[in-house]
């Protein structure tokens, strides 16, 4: 029995594991003198944690960081020894996050690609989304799970980090059992179509949280609405469980499902429904990704439209999109100034015992005042979180 995990690609390593009489590690690297000892140390630590089983390991290194190396070795050994359990490692401290924290950007990163995963924490995304679903080929799912878990344990994300799992009955449960060890802030459920599906996920999360000693209920859920059925039932999805913090819309799968072209008009119904469902449930709505990386103006335009519809943020497929998203989904200086004027006027009116307030000749009614207050509070959160 032989297992091959990883790849000979920059930032990664290829690990080949074979059953053998005794545990052994061989290392190939372009920089043997500098690097062999360190690589060997990491690989041997993994074997030792598994009880030094009879497995021969070959590492072909291409500049993989320690957590990548360890993940590759661990995944390879567990493939040749199915009875081997996952290795508990030290992990960085990670505080739970508030359900209503700003999520102007959710940055996707493919869960089995170290070249794109390493450094994914430094681009200022409000929410990083490590993907185990569409970006990971079927044969790599097991390796990706281990890599994502090790990454979560090693990297202190300044903001939120989530994991997009596979559908529960297609690997999702295995995903959860593995990655919850790394304490992500939330789990993203693809192709959400019913309240029941969300509740199944919530139940599973609750059990794992209890088992691992995590505060029960602290792991958020982000259902993605990306099918016709999902769009029609998104109220159920949004209201299904307290854990739902944000409902996302995915246009790629949706257009395929309904046979639409990807135009603003074709998506308007779905987008509006998702926003209404999310807001009715008192949670955030996040728009689909924008795939044309070279077109910053197009992205800014789509962000503006999404914000007009009521979305709170949008997906990003590359870190370079983040500044555009953050500009679009943050209150502008003008909006903030206007909101402050309204709140000040209301305070003044109240202190003088007046019921009605007018700003710039327009009556300020309760919803307008409420919105102004929310905007100011939101802007303060952005500054405090260092995400402005």
């Amino acid at each position: 029995m032989e297992a091959r995990v990883g790849a000979e690609a920059k930032g990664d390593c290829l690990v080949v594991a074979r059953q053998a009489e005794r545990a052994s590690v061989t290392v190939a690297t372009k920089n043997r003198n500098l690097l062999e000892t360190g690589i060997r140390t990491v690989a041997e630590a993994v074997l030792e944690a598994l009880g030094t089983p009879g497995v021969a390991i070959e590492v072909q290194d291409q500049g993989a960081l320690d957590y990548v190396l360890a993940a590759r070795v661990e995944a390879a050994v567990r493939m040749v020894l199915p009875e081997a359990k996952l290795i508990r490692t030290e992990r960085v401290e990670r505080a739970t996050s508030a359900a209503d924290r700003p999520r102007r950007s959710r940055l996707y990163a493919p869960g089995n690609n170290p070249r794109l995963l390493v450094g994914i924490d430094i681009h200022g995304a409000d929410c990083v989304l490590l993907d185990l679903e569409d970006s990971v080929p079927l044969g790599d799912k097991a390796a990706a799970r281990v890599l994502v878990r090790r990454l979560l344990a090693a990297v202190p994300f300044p903001d939120e980090v989530w994991v997009r799992i596979n559908p529960l009955d297609a690997g999702g449960r295995e995903d959860l059992a593995e990655v919850l060890e790394g304490r992500p802030h939330g789990v993203c459920l693809p192709k959400a179509e019913s309240g029941e599906g969300v509740r199944d996920l919530a139940k599973e999360l609750g059990e794992i949280e209890r088992r691992l000693g995590i505060d029960v209920g602290s792991t958020h859920i982000m259902p993605i609405i990306e099918t016709a059925r999902g769009v029609l039932r998104c109220e159920d999805v949004a209201e299904a469980d307290e854990r739902v913090a944000v409902v996302a819309f995915g246009a790629e799968d949706y257009t395929r499902d309904v046979g639409a072209r990807r135009t603003g008009e074709a998506l308007l119904f779905a987008r509006s429904r998702v926003v209404a469902a999310a807001k009715a449930a008192g949670v955030q709505a996040s728009d689909t990704v924008y795939a044309d990386l070279a077109n910053d103006a197009g992205l800014a335009e789509e962000c503006a439209r999404a914000r007009d519809l009521g979305f709170d943020g949008k997906g990003a497929i590359n870190p370079r999109q983040i500044p555009i998203l953050h500009r679009a989904f943050s209150p502008s200086e003008d909006e903030l100034a206007q909101a402050r004027t309204i709140v000040d006027a209301a305070r003044e009116a109240e202190s003088r015992g007046l019921g009605a307030v007018a700003v710039g000749g327009r009556m300020v009614d309760q919803p307008v005042l409420e919105r102004a207050r929310r905007l100011i509070k939101y802007a303060e959160t952005l500054v405090k979180g260092g995400t402005a």
Partner: protein, 515 residues
């Protein structure tokens, strides 16, 4: 053994020379005079054209132990260095010293010439395969000497590096010895790097594949300096002359560093009308230059000059009126070469003008900001561009020292994490450029400001930029990698690294073992 001002241990003598230790970036003062140049007298109506390189070697009286020099403006596309050395080998010459302005991968055949004794000493630059060969135990008769562009010019003028025959590859020349890199069948940009060789060498040979009627111009190399002209079929491969590195980076990490660099420039106080800068040719520098142009446009700032290596990005800025001039010693792409030909505001310069310590003015001293790369930086802000962390000597100095010493704000851009080998270290393997002339280090995990520049630190902090201690950036990166082993160096010196003033800032020793 002596310790220089940076605490680096340097032998008193290296090969046949007595070492003057580095004493500080601007410590050396002017003394004495420059070296005399050989007298040359032309016969009337002289035709300088010779039929082959062999004929030129013979006519120059090149013999064993002599010194020959080359330029690098053809970069990876160069044919001439190999042509000349192959001819020397065929003619049985031995023990030559070569003085290239830089070497590239294409010059790997030099390794064979060292092994067979044709080449025994190298001064100037020792990049790539030749450096690797020497690092791994290949023997030269004396340690190599590495100099910056300005340092090389200075050493020739000072008489420290005497050249017997300068071989100058020229995309176009006339039969009277005027030569240029701007027009021609295979243009490479200015060939001014060897203008000093041409004036000081005992003999000067222009090698061209495009002999044109008199006069060719511009005249980077002048008739009064040239002894012979040789016409060959091929001097360079046009596809490799403009380097493949001239692509904007698409690495998210490098783009982040480029953006942070430009944010720092904007906050630095230098970013106003008359602003001047130098950008390099790497993908990250190109991206930073591009973003800088965008920001200048937004802020309606007109810069005084941009310094090359010229690239399309700089040329576009000139055409849009965002900078008043380009000062260029090298051209990295065809747009820059065309612009040099057509636009008087695209000014050609030689290293003597832009970088010579022993002069009354360097263009680099007029720079506000420069962004440069590095293989390593250390907690004292010293920079290494010559060796890798395993002690191998793989790169020349280029203009690094000259630009860093000159610019009011020198920024080193490098990722804090580069695979498993940490770029931010406690002590650089080799000092190329001292920390005293480095102002800011920009990484994807924040920027570190030299403690000498409290003014910049305050400005960056006021602008909300992520200013951090370099030690903290290092700690952040090191958590992801096991410590690497460090080479143990023996006594044998394989190369001296000269500071641009001719003092020795560091030496490269042979690796003896591993810690």
């Amino acid at each position: 053994m002596i310790q220089n001002a940076l605490g680096r241990e340097i032998p008193d003598r290296i090969g046949s020379r007595t070492v003057v230790p580095f004493g500080g970036a601007f410590a050396k003062t002017a003394t004495g005079t420059k070296a005399p140049r050989p007298q040359k007298v032309a016969a009337q109506r002289e035709d300088k054209v010779l039929p082959s390189i062999e004929a030129a070697i013979e006519a120059c009286g090149l013999s064993n132990g002599m010194t020959i020099s080359f330029h690098h403006s053809f970069r990876e596309g160069d044919r001439v260095i190999n042509l000349v050395l192959d001819a020397c080998a065929r003619m049985g010459l031995k023990d030559l010293r070569i003085c290239p302005t830089a070497l590239f991968g294409v010059h790997e055949p030099i390794v064979g010439h060292i092994e067979s004794g044709v080449v025994s000493r190298i001064e100037g630059s020792m990049n790539g395969p030749v450096g690797a060969f020497i690092s791994k135990g290949g023997k030269l008769r004396e340690p190599a000497v590495l100099r910056s562009h300005g340092g090389r010019w200075r050493a020739i003028e000072a008489g420290t590096m005497e050249i017997d025959v300068a071989f100058i590859a020229a995309p176009q020349a006339d039969s009277y010895g005027n030569a240029t890199g701007i027009p021609g069948k295979t243009p490479c940009g200015p060939i001014t790097f060897q203008a000093v060789d041409a004036q000081y060498a005992r003999q000067t040979v222009v090698v061209t594949n495009d002999l044109a009627p008199y006069p060719v111009f511009p005249m980077e190399i002048q008739q009064g300096w040239t002894d012979y002209v040789v016409v060959v079929d091929e001097i360079g491969d046009p596809a490799s002359i403009t380097s493949g590195t001239l692509q904007l980076t698409n690495s998210p990490t490098n783009l982040l560093i480029a953006r942070l660099t430009v944010e720092a420039v904007k906050a630095s106080g230098y970013f106003k009308d008359g602003f001047s800068f130098q950008g390099g040719a790497g993908g990250l520098s190109l991206a930073a230059t591009k973003f800088l142009g965008d920001e200048m446009e937004k802020a309606k700032i007109v810069g005084s000059f941009g310094m090359g290596g010229g690239t399309k990005i700089l040329v576009d800025m000139l055409r849009r009126g965002q900078i008043r001039a380009i000062l260029d010693g090298q051209a990295f792409d065809l747009d820059a070469i065309a612009s040099l030909r057509e636009d008087p505001a695209h000014v050609m310069m030689d290293p003597g003008m832009y970088a010579n310590y022993d002069s009354r003015g360097c263009s680099t001293y007029k720079l506000d900001a420069a962004f440069l790369g590095a293989t390593e930086v250390d907690l004292d802000f010293n920079v290494n561009v010559n060796t890798h962390s395993d002690g191998q000597l793989l790169h020349g100095i280029g203009g690094h020292q000259d630009v860093a010493a000159g610019a009011a704000m020198t920024m080193i851009t490098l990722p804090a994490l580069r695979g498993r080998i940490p770029p931010v270290v406690d002590r650089v393997t080799t000092v190329t450029t001292p920390g005293e002339v480095i102002d800011v280090i920009v990484t994807e995990r924040g920027l570190a400001v030299n403690p000498r520049r409290g003014d910049l630190r305050e400005r960056f902090q006021a602008a909300g930029l992520p200013v951090r201690e370099l030690a903290d950036i290092k700690r952040d990166a090191d958590r992801y990698i096991q410590p690497v082993r460090r080479p143990v160096f023996g006594d044998e010196v394989i190369a001296a690294i000269e500071w641009r003033d001719g003092t020795v800032i560091d030496v490269v020793r042979k690796v003896d073992g591993w810690q």
